[in-house]
């Protein structure tokens, strides 16, 4: 039988209700407090983490700049004395000694190039690179890069073909050093990672009009090892080297494409590629038909004029 409404019970019930409400409200408050505490802790942690990364990064950059600058002085000495050694009669007449000195000078040259590359990276990252474009004939600029690269291409038995465009291209503004650096980086890669003994590189210049804007594309196509789909998204990252690239060539700092992309973008262009493993890679550099844009900064490139 249902008991009649008992006032005392109803009171108890009301008391329970109040207690329950208070309990749930306080639990709610505690949860909110906990969540906010977690959030605050998380934000603090994240902030200190990110502060730490920026601090480490800037330390790393300073270190790169300082070490590279300091390395240049002893490297200069090694370079000069090796040059003097190889010119001295005692060495010039001895086949063995001539080989040794020539190897020292190759290694030194390599080291100078690494140091210059690192300096270029830190200079680009700090946004200190200047771009000083001058009116240039694009075809002859490409030809002069190819002339410099010729010994390297021959060493790898790679055939480089420059397809001159049928219609004359108007002169465009290019920073000669920056242009040389971008192109030699891309062509060096195309040669290094080309089909062994049967490398072929096609270079084309194309006039493009897109949404009423005029561009010039510089297209560098190789028939080399290509880039795997999973590596493609990492290609422009600093210090990244593709797996199949390290299989071919263990040496390499992994800054070439990083530097090239930064340079192209800083000077107002774009760069991209398409690639298929074991078939080849095609890089395209696109500039407005007027050429590179000027960037008034303090530092010019630390370039090495000759390639091995």
């Amino acid at each position: 039988m249902e008991p009649a409404l008992d006032p005392s019970r109803s009171l108890q019930f009301r008391g329970n209700f109040v207690l329950q409400t208070m309990l749930s409200v306080s639990i709610f408050i505690i949860i909110v407090l906990l969540i906010s505490a977690f959030c605050i802790a998380f934000v603090i942690q994240w902030m200190s983490d990110s502060a730490k990364t920026t601090k480490t990064e800037s330390l790393e950059k300073d270190l790169i700049t300082i070490v590279s600058h300091e390395l240049r002085t002893p490297l200069t000495s090694i370079k000069l004395y090796t040059e003097m050694l190889s010119a001295s009669p005692g060495i010039a007449q001895n086949t063995d000694l001539r080989l040794y000195t020539s190897n020292i000078s190759i290694a030194t040259q390599k080291m100078v190039r690494i140091v210059n590359n690192l300096l270029n990276v830190s200079c680009l990252e700090a946004g200190r690179l200047r771009i000083s474009p001058v009116k240039t004939d694009l075809s002859s600029a490409v030809r002069s890069v190819l002339k410099e690269m010729k010994p390297f291409a021959q060493l790898h038995r790679c055939h480089v073909v420059f397809h001159q465009s049928a219609s004359a291209l108007p002169k465009m503004k290019l920073d000669p050093d920056v242009f040389f650096h971008i192109m030699s980086n891309l062509i060096t890669n195309a040669i290094k990672y080309g089909r062994p003994g049967h490398g072929r590189i096609n270079i084309n210049l194309q006039k493009i009009t897109e949404t009423n804007k005029k561009f010039i594309d510089i297209v560098i196509q190789d028939n080399g090892i290509g880039i795997s789909t999973e590596d493609q998204s990492h290609m422009f990252k600093k210090f990244f080297r593709a797996k199949n690239a390290t299989d071919v060539e263990t040496e390499g700092t992994g800054v070439g494409l990083f530097v090239a992309k930064r340079m192209v973008e800083l000077s107002g262009g774009t760069i991209w590629f398409t690639s298929q493993q074991e078939v080849g890679t095609t890089f395209t550099v696109r500039f407005p038909s007027t050429g590179m844009k000027e960037v008034t900064n303090t530092e010019s490139l630390s370039h090495t004029e000759k390639h091995l």
Partner: protein, 124 residues
């Protein structure tokens, strides 16, 4: 031989200094040296060299101060100056050029042969 052209080398790194000294002497020049800016300036005023190879970062007086001093004294003695630099900062190179430097050498990038060629071009 008294008609040898006189080159003053101002460079604080002993090894680089010695290398250029030997190279230039072998190329037939009379070479004197200074290891810091103050000694360099004294050697310019005293020795009146035909050409100066000048490092920019030097103890006691930097390369820019020397360029300024030479420029002020131009009506008396006007030597050709090639700046030796390891920085390759175009701002520095431009500043040196406006202060009268005729050419510049980025030490790590240029060979002895390059330097001697540059010297010969200005002197002979």
């Amino acid at each position: 031989m008294t008609d040898k052209k006189h080159i003053l080398l101002i460079e604080d790194d002993a090894l680089i200094l010695q290398a250029y000294q030997i190279g230039l002497e072998q190329a037939g020049f009379k070479v004197s040296t200074a290891r810091d800016g103050r000694a360099g300036l004294a050697a310019i005023l005293e020795g009146k060299p035909d050409l100066i190879l000048l490092d920019l970062i030097l103890p006691k007086k930097d390369g820019f101060e020397i360029l300024e001093a030479v420029q002020k004294n131009r009506h008396v003695h006007d030597p050709a100056i090639i700046v030796l630099s390891n920085l390759g900062q175009s701002s520095d190179i431009e500043r040196a050029k406006t202060l009268g430097a005729r050419d510049y050498v980025i030490k790590a990038n240029h060979s002895m042969k390059d330097v001697i060629e540059k010297v010969k071009k200005l002197l002979l």
